[in-house]
């Protein structure tokens, strides 16, 4: 009997293993062929001095890493990325949630609203870059007349190194809020109606219901949103490149724009790869660390 159930257990385990291998195979095919090759290539290149054209790459060991350690521009870029992380989580998530609540309460009557709210997500970065450059234009822009009426001059939204990063962050948040809106709306829709009724019957106000019942029940979704927002913000490239190219005075430089400039503009492919590898390490550590911390905090409710 004992040995029989032992084999049964092993059989089941083997069947699990075979199934796992079979089902993971297609995904890992793409991962191995396209992603792993690239990571290894980038780690390898980070040990070389290469202009991207010479036939021979010069091995420099850890010299690129030494240079990165002392590179103030990279430090500034990382800081800017962290600013985006902070603002993204602090604005996109709450506004996304507020919009989700609005649409949730509105039900089927607000489909048009939903579509319009989702538009920023659908627009290409080229269009967003052009339109917001025009909106921020100190002479012809949308904010300019208002600012001039109030203070006599218009703030230099994209040209002032102290302001530019916040202008860019504003646009980034504008672009990605709709994604979290849709994501949270789904979460709200899944909440069991009986909890809501019970809470209201017990005399809880709508806002108390939301904060004490709804939010805790959506923990898993919130955690996922935080991790995705963090990864996206640390890797961000598109709009910054279109709107400011990392300027003025490097004030909107991000890790990704800095990496791109090194690798493709000034032809320091080795150093560019070093930045990319560092970026990969930082983003991985941040995302896995956050996931782990949230899981612990959530006592294993979201991921066992």
């Amino acid at each position: 009997m004992i040995s029989a159930s032992y084999t049964l257990g092993r059989d089941r385990q083997r069947s699990t293993r075979v199934t796992a291998v079979l089902l993971l195979a297609p995904a890992f095919f793409f991962i191995v062929v396209f992603l792993l090759v690239s990571i290894f290539n980038s780690i390898q290149l980070s040990a070389f001095d290469w202009n991207g054209a010479d036939a021979v790459k010069e091995f420099v060991g850890l010299a690129n890493w030494g240079a990165l350690w002392g590179d103030e521009r990279f430090g500034l870029a990382l800081l800017n990325n962290l600013r985006i992380v902070a603002f993204s989580i602090a604005t996109q998530l709450p506004i996304g949630m507020a919009l989700a609540l609005l649409l949730y309460k509105g039900g089927g009557r607000v489909t048009l609203l939903k579509v319009v709210y989702f538009l920023p997500m659908l627009m290409s970065s080229v269009a967003i870059g052009f339109l917001f450059r025009s909106i921020f234009d100190p002479e012809f822009g949308l904010f300019a007349p208002l600012a001039r009426a109030l203070s006599g001059t218009s703030p230099d939204f994209l040209g002032d190194p102290k302001i530019a990063i916040y202008s860019v962050i504003f646009v980034i948040c504008w672009q990605f809020t709709p994604f979290y809106m849709i994501y949270f709306l789904a979460g709200l829709n899944t909440l069991p109606e009986d909890v809501h009724e019970a809470a209201i019957i017990d005399g809880a106000s709508e806002s108390r219901y939301f904060f004490s019942f709804a939010l805790p029940m959506m923990r898993g979704i919130l955690y996922n949103a935080i991790v995705m927002s963090m990864v996206g913000s640390l890797k961000y490239f598109d709009l910054v490149y279109v709107m400011t190219e990392g300027g003025p005075s490097g004030s909107t430089e991000l890790m990704a724009t800095y990496m791109y400039k090194n690798a493709f503009t000034i032809m320091k492919m080795g150093y560019g790869s070093t930045i990319a590898t560092a970026m990969f390490a930082i983003v991985t550590a941040a995302s896995l660390g956050t996931l782990w911390a949230l899981k612990r905090n959530g006592r294993g409710e979201s991921y066992e």
């Binding site: 699990t16 293993r17 199934t19 796992a20 079979l22 089902l23 993971l24 297609p26 995904a27 890992f28 793409f30 991962i31 062929v33 396209f34 992603l35 090759v37 290539n41 980038s42 290149l45 609005l102 609203l113 579509v115 319009v116 709210y117 989702f118 538009l119 920023p120 997500m121 659908l122 080229v126 269009a127 339109l131 025009s134 909106i135 012809f140 849709i182 994501y183 789904a186 979460g187 829709n189 899944t190 898993g220 979704i221 996922n224 991790v227 990864v231 640390l234 890797k235 490239f237 890790m255 990496m259 690798a263 492919m269 560019g272 990319a276 970026m279 930082i282 983003v283 995302s287 979201s302």
Partner: protein, 281 residues
């Protein structure tokens, strides 16, 4: 609290919510509106009279010249590439997510962590290795070259989202299937997979938007204009020192339309997908 007070408070909430809804309608919709009106203006109008002025003489000539300029061709390429990529992407991430969400084996968590880590890959450093790979595979300058990278680079986040969904499905469903004699594979194909279709619609829309606007791989892996996708259609209107904004906005408006239509028809599915996925056991 008196009834009167409650009523006035509710009214205050409603007014507040209405104001917020209206405000965000403007915030979210205005840039799109400006893109739209820029596409029905003459080129000189945008610079001479500003982006925000109403069009003096609305015209559809921009649309005519964009469509004559090979837009359909790019459009068809985009539809083929994104359709195939999405199909492969959604199926392979559903299979992988099932493994991570529902199967117990020793390597489960490390492997899932590994896939999550892959979300962190910066795409620009991958351009040279993937370009070389594409050359070696003999598919450089074909639309097929885009499918591999599109699937691979969207896989990690799709698996991340979909695993989250599948994780929340009640255990009883699976147990019932096993009692009926399904092995793990059959449980996936016959039970979990169909239940995840709405969840897959979710990642399909999310990844679809990403791929539809994807520019980097499209630029590096194709060459002749016959094999280009929509995001490269704006090139014809960007010169070395100046660009034709009216035509660019026309191209971008036209490229956004199919996505909007897909969203209008897909958003119902999207929401329900997230609903089904996020159901607490």
């Amino acid at each position: 609290m008196s009834d009167k007070k409650i009523v006035s408070r509710l009214l205050a909430y409603k007014i507040l919510a209405g104001a917020f809804a209206a405000l965000w309608l403007v915030v979210a919709g205005l840039p799109f509106y400006y893109m739209l009106i820029s596409s029905i203006k003459q080129r000189y109008e945008i610079l001479g009279h500003g982006v925000f002025a109403l069009p003096m003489k609305p015209t559809l000539v921009n649309f005519a010249s964009v469509i004559r300029g090979g837009f359909w061709h790019y459009f068809v390429n985009s539809v083929v590439v994104i359709g195939l990529s999405l199909l492969i992407l959604v199926l392979s991430s559903a299979a992988a997510s099932y493994v991570f969400a529902r199967l117990r084996f020793r390597l489960n968590k490390p492997l899932f962590g590994f896939v999550v880590a892959l979300m962190a890959i910066p795409i620009h450093v991958t351009l040279i290795p993937i370009f070389m790979l594409t050359q070696r595979m003999g598919i450089y300058d074909t639309i097929w070259a885009l499918i591999g990278p599109y699937v691979a680079f969207n896989l990690p986040i799709s698996v991340f989202i979909l695993t989250g969904f599948m994780h929340e499905m009640p255990k009883e469903i699976e147990e019932a299937a096993e009692i009926d004699g399904c092995d793990k594979l059959a449980t996936f194909t016959r039970v979990i997979f169909p239940l995840s279709i709405p969840g897959m619609a979710t990642i399909a829309i999310y990844d679809g938007v990403n791929m539809w606007n994807e520019f980097c791989f499209a630029m590096v892996l194709t060459q002749s204009s016959a094999n280009r996708t929509l995001p490269l259609a704006v090139w014809d209107y960007q010169g070395q020192y100046s660009s034709n904004t009216a035509l660019i906005m026309t191209v971008l408006t036209l490229s956004a339309l199919p996505m909007i239509i897909a969203f209008i028809f897909g958003q119902d599915k999207l929401i329900r997908g997230m609903m089904a996925g996020a159901v607490k056991g």
